[in-house]
């Protein structure tokens, strides 16, 4: 069963080849079997999962099923799930039972999906390795001495190891696309505002965006159909109508113009990764696409601009964790100040503190203009570069990450090197554009992802290109040894 995509599982359920309860029990068993090795789940939810599966079976019986009814999934532990522990990978929220559902969770529940559990992640989504979690590092199923990428590393590892057919993730600076690349699966970051942020624990609000982590582009389209849409509870939710993202999957790529940014090739890019991406682009040319070299002159500035904006917004968002209303509270505070100081010092891990402190500094009196405002000005230049490029080309293609999965602990004491590895993903968040990472080959026997960046709300086109690419290649069907 675990070799099937959700598209295939859906028809098997409709044809009564097996029930949702059987399917869910099978996956729960697989999770219990492999989670000790991978540490991709923080919580498994066997009881509620079986209950949801039974109710899905009833809907299928009665002919009230959607394409997602009865399909199991894993939620990144950043999405609030009513009545269930929602930790965001932090000790701060180790005791937090969410009192409501995130909109993404509500929508997928309504579609009839079954939640297997909550996946591990970098603490408060701050990291590119899934090692900063209070619950320990996630391991990459392709090589358990390596990281799965981050911050949605638990979701990516779970889908790659087929412990869940599909999972949710969030992407502030690459946190869906980079782990998808490092784990050999498909990850879509939609346009900013396309998927509701309500109930998704905030890191950097002007950059955060939820999306699906799947085996195929077709599955991502099916998931996005259920996840996307206007939500009045999210002040930056896009009011644009949602299309059927599966409709154009098979469109021809004849006449498609692909832009290859000069700045994304050469330089720090590993040569073996570059050749995988070039081969992927060649494949798309065989399918009818044309290639054009383009310029994104301010690309290099995306790392500094991103880190200033993300850290500033994180310091503000994480001020809510005060030890008073929910979350960790220190023992025997001697006064209110002591309560704040110690609850926060005990509840947050090292990387989170590093980012809060830096973010507080760049927002402090006398430095705001030099850092935050300056970064926002660069953000405009970076966005305008993309806008200009996308007047001449339909999509932009490059690597998702400059390297394959790195070894565990390689960057744990070297945050700067970790930040620099986000070079190809953060600019997309600054611009608010949609982008997808698809498996495009291997380097040193580890998966390499190709990133396709599109214009605002062009998710349908991205999914079409990714789907056609996956029809012509089989990289997305490779499975790590031991998890076949």
């Amino acid at each position: 069963m675990h070799k099937k995509t959700i598209k295939e599982l859906s028809s098997a359920l409709q044809n009564k080849e097996f029930s949702s309860e059987e399917l869910v029990s099978f996956y729960l068993h697989r999770c219990e079997l492999h989670n000790a090795d991978l540490n991709c789940f923080i919580s498994l939810m066997p009881e509620t999962a079986i209950k949801q599966a039974k109710s899905a079976d009833k809907k299928i019986q009665n002919g009230n099923a959607t394409p997602l009814t009865g399909i199991p999934l894993a939620h990144k532990d950043i999405f609030c799930t009513n009545g269930t522990k929602t930790t965001c990978g932090s000790k701060m929220l180790d005791n937090f039972i969410a009192p409501y559902d995130a909109t993404v969770v509500t929508r997928l529940n309504k579609a009839g999906m079954v939640t297997l559990g909550k996946t591990n992640m970098d603490e408060f989504a701050m990291g590119s390795t899934s090692e900063t979690s209070f619950y320990g590092a996630v391991k990459n199923p392709w090589d358990i001495d390596r990281v799965p990428g981050g911050s949605s590393g638990g979701s990516a590892a779970a889908v790659a190891a087929k412990l869940a057919p599909v999972a949710t993730g969030t992407d502030t600076g690459g946190s869906i696309r980079q782990p998808a690349s490092l784990c050999g699966i498909t990850g879509l970051k939609p346009t900013y505002g396309r998927v509701s942020r309500y109930g998704m624990i905030a890191y950097a609000s002007s950059l955060d965006q939820g999306g699906p982590i799947t085996q195929t582009a077709e599955d991502a389209a099916i998931m996005l159909n259920a996840m996307a849409g206007f939500d009045e509870r999210d002040s930056t939710s896009a009011e644009k109508a949602v299309e059927d993202y599966t409709k154009n999957l098979n469109e021809s790529l004849d006449g498609l113009t692909i832009g290859l940014p000069k700045q994304y090739f050469g330089g720090q890019l590993d040569a073996s990764i570059e050749s995988v991406i070039q081969a992927g682009v060649k494949e798309l040319e065989n399918l009818g696409a044309h290639v054009k070299e383009i310029e994104l002159p301010n690309s290099e500035l995306s790392i500094p601009a991103y880190y200033v904006i993300a850290l500033a917004e994180c310091s503000s968002n994480l001020a809510r964790f005060d030890g008073v209303r929910f979350g960790h509270r220190c023992d025997d505070p001697k006064d209110l100040t002591d309560l704040y100081l110690r609850s926060r010092a005990e509840g947050f891990g090292k990387e989170v503190k590093r980012r809060i402190i830096t973010g507080t500094y760049v927002l402090s009196a006398g430095y705001y203009d030099a850092y935050y405002l300056k970064a926002q000005k660069l953000r405009r230049l970076i966005r305008d570069d993309f806008r200009k490029a996308l007047e001449d080309v339909d999509v932009i293609i490059g690597p998702t990450a400059p390297q394959v999965a790195f070894k565990l602990n390689e960057f744990i004491d070297d945050p700067i090197s970790m930040y620099l590895s986000d070079i190809y993903t953060v600019s997309v968040n600054l611009a608010g554009l949609p982008a997808i990472s698809v498996p495009a080959g291997f380097a040193n026997e580890l998966p390499v992802g190709m990133q396709i960046i599109g214009n605002y709300f062009a998710e349908s086109r991205l999914l079409n290109i990714a789907h056609r690419f996956q029809q012509a290649t089989d990289w997305h069907q490779r499975s790590p040894e031991g998890f076949e």
Binding site: I97, G193, P304, L378, P415
Partner: protein, 95 residues
Amino acid sequence: MSLNKSDIDKIAWLARLSISEEDTPNYLHDVSNILDLVETMNTVDTENIEPLAHPLEITARLREDKVTETDQREHFQKIAPAVDNGHYLVPKVIE
């Protein structure tokens, strides 16, 4: 960018984070490195560029002024560390 130990103490206080004496040098080192990294922002002249806060430059929408949230005080206080009689408890603030 040169920061010193007292800068870190000051920022940590603003962020209401207690940092131990022995950890301060590490934070000083890491935060200084991050600030060095972002220093490259100054290589670009942004004199007449408007800052961009929202990637799509959409302004916050307005809605009708009507009650949309119900009172769920008990529900939300169930997860609070300390409550009494509908109030969140904190150490004494006024002597």
